[in-house]
């Protein structure tokens, strides 16, 4: 995807020069391998910092909330679906945006790469279409990108943006084969106590840094329920019950809105696979309401409208 970079710069420069947008939001190359940094460019001469590769795994929609200026932004499939969700939820207006669509072939799982080199320090990662080269102090290893996709990217069905003003390249082929919810189905088969154990174990290392929440474009409440003091819904220590309450409630607040962009999982400093919470709700909204978040501006999300034929088996 590296080859998109010059095109992104060119588009951004044009937009800023013509005054179509006031600012352009994209990534710049990070200061450490497999990390890129969101950047806000206002000067057409500065657009050469813009960069795209397989390590752009945050969700730039997060930076749109409540902005009032005209914004150019790069968006791959999931990011564009969050932008749609943001528009529907009145966090930003479509007219403000110039969406530069990225046909995405997925992000590289930085943890898997580190595992593959046995935790040795990686000094550089060079990308070359379907492969990438990992360079360390006294090693070089070449890997196939398809073997190192982030979990959410390996099951992604919407690699191409659903909403855009201009594409940087031709759409890529969508993936079909994978069973998106295989992991969720495994958990669904567990007994309640097994599920309790599974999730307790899953979050046992959580330090309540809220990176998962804050990196998520869906979490824009002025005061999050964990920060309320009157009433205080959740304790602030690292008591496992409070930590579980946070993760479960966070996931429920994302129900019918999550695009499985994977940013939450990518940023967790203690590597908790937090998507195990949100994915179950994605599966439920798909099965119960035939709803996937952010695919259209034309329809209200499943959980903010009432339809007479809505799923209602839970009513006796």
């Amino acid at each position: 995807m590296l080859e998109y970079t010059p095109k992104i710069r060119e588009i951004a420069r044009g937009l800023l020069e013509k005054g179509t947008v006031d600012v352009f939001i994209g990534y710049r190359k990070g200061s450490v391998p497999m990390m890129n940094e969101p950047v806000l460019v206002t000067d057409p001469a500065q657009t050469d910092v813009l960069h795209w590769d397989s390590h752009c795994g945050l969700n730039l929609c997060n930076y749109l909330t409540k902005r009032t200026d005209r914004i150019g932004i790069v968006a791959n499939g999931c990011n564009s679906r969050n932008i749609v969700t943001h528009i529907i939820e009145n966090q930003v207006k479509r007219e403000q945006l110039y969406i530069v669509g990225i046909p995405c072939t997925g992000m590289i799982d930085h943890r898997a790469v580190k595992r593959a080199v046995n935790g040795k320090e990686i000094k550089e990662v060079q990308e070359n279409k379907d492969t990438f080269l990992v360079i360390g102090k006294d090693f070089e290893e070449k890997f196939a990108k398809k073997d190192f996709l982030q979990d959410n990217c390996s099951v992604c069905r919407h690699r191409n943006p659903v909403e855009y003003d201009e594409m940087v390249a031709e759409p890529v082929e969508e993936q079909e084969a994978e069973d998106v919810f295989a992991d969720v189905k495994t958990i669904e088969k567990m007994s309640p106590s097994e599920k309790q154990d599974f999730f307790t174990q899953l979050i046992s290392s959580c330090i309540r840094c809220y990176a998962c929440r804050n990196v998520c474009p869906l979490c824009y409440c002025p005061t999050c329920f964990v920060d309320e003091s009157q009433p205080q819904w959740v304790g602030k220590s690292i008591d496992p019950v409070d930590t579980m309450t946070f993760h479960l409630l966070r996931a429920f607040h994302c129900a019918g809105r999550c695009t499985d962009c994977g940013a939450c999982e990518r940023v967790c400093p203690v590597a908790i696979p937090v998507r195990q919470f949100t994915k179950k709700l994605n599966k439920d909204t798909l099965e119960l309401f035939q709803w996937e978040a952010g695919l259209t501006l034309e329809q209200r999300p499943a959980l903010d409208v009432y339809r007479v034929d809505d799923y209602n088996d839970f009513i006796l």
Partner: protein
């Protein structure tokens, strides 16, 4: 004492023996990374690591600490009266701490143990802890300890410095506490001049392997207001998501919150790590918030570390160059660039 040599097998055995009578924290691998864990028979210490994901600060300053307990039961004569939560502070050791993290304890200690106030939990636990450092033969590319008063074999804040010589550890006691600890370990033999020389050369070589550096020389000359008003904060802050990763992983971030928690009629007053990244940190009861915007919070974190601390204690910056925030900031805000900007302004 110049140094005692232990084969790694001996060292492991001696540590395990000692762990029967006192708490010993050692690095151990969990999932994809290392953290300090209490040594027991069910786990394997792993000294072949770069650094732990979380800093060892929680060994002295736990993320959540019960301060007081109380009953709300009106039939008790002590209802509503806070009592110190009973605790003891027996000797403990952290073995394998990197020199940067030991240096961090010194930096934080001036906050918790000052002429006017002594934090009873920090002070007692800090004094009860023996810091057995492990020098860094292979520093990471994000390490910059040498720019901020440390080094891969710095002895700051350490009671013992270990040097990994392949199949053996060379142990050098630095303080009385360290001598006592080595006596408890018991075994080992006196290192030869030749071994000491080899170790010194290796330590020297490690110094040369530090590839990152940051400037600090001009931080003191600026006034707080000049740096506070500098034009670069918006740009630094733009990507920030105001999570607590940097502050919670940082070995020198010490800010905390105090909370009451009640279950039925019994309650605790607990202190928890807090973060200047969170808006709630400074929110007044009236609704006013002096650091309402993320740029203000980001500025606060860096100003605290690189300016306010410098001015207040004359003790250097409140950063030890461990590189955790550089590696794990979700959005790649790099403190090394902030050093450049602040120092160069």
């Amino acid at each position: 004492m110049k140094g005692r040599l232990f084969t790694k097998k001996e060292w492991d055995k001696a540590l395990r023996e000692l762990s029967k009578s006192q708490k010993i924290f050692v690095p151990a691998k969990e999932k994809d990374f290392h953290n300090f864990t209490v040594l027991d028979n069910n786990m394997e210490p792993d000294f072949d690591f770069q650094n732990t994901r979380l800093s060892p600060k929680s060994i002295v300053f736990p993320q959540s600490e019960r301060m007081f307990e109380y009953t709300l039961d009106e039939t008790s004569p002590d209802a509503h009266i806070l009592k110190e939560a009973p605790k003891d502070f027996p000797p403990q050791a952290v073995v394998g701490i990197r020199p940067c993290d030991a240096h961090a304890f010194q930096i934080v200690n001036v906050n918790f143990d000052n002429p006017e106030y002594k934090d009873p939990w920090w002070v007692r636990r800090y004094r009860a802890t023996t810091f057995v450092g492990l020098g860094c033969n292979e520093p990471c590319s994000t390490c910059f300890c040498t720019s901020v008063g440390g080094g891969p074999f710095s002895e700051k804040g350490l009671d013992i410095l270990l040097h990994d010589l392949g199949d053996r550890f060379l142990a050098k006691a630095i303080t009385e506490k360290g001598i006592e600890f080595l006596d408890k370990i018991g075994s080992g033999k006196e290192a030869s001049e030749q071994t000491l020389k080899k170790a010194a050369l290796e330590a020297e070589a490690a110094l040369g392997k530090i590839s990152s550096s940051v400037p600090t020389d001009r931080l003191k000359e600026k006034t707080e207001i000049e740096l506070f008003d500098a034009p670069f904060w918006e740009k630094i802050a733009f990507p920030c998501i105001n999570c607590g990763t940097c502050t919670y992983l940082c070995p020198t971030c010490w800010c905390f919150d105090i909370q009451d928690e009640v279950f039925r009629k019994e309650g605790d007053r607990i202190r928890n790590w807090d973060s200047c990244m969170f808006p709630l940190f400074t929110l007044h009861g009236s609704g006013h918030n002096p650091r309402e915007k993320k740029v203000q919070r980001v500025r606060q974190r860096f100003m605290h570390k690189l300016k306010y601390y410098v001015d207040k204690y004359g003790n250097g910056v409140a950063c030890v160059g461990c590189g955790r925030c550089v590696q794990f900031c979700p959005v790649n805000i790099d403190i090394r660039e902030v050093f450049e900007l602040m120092n160069g302004y």
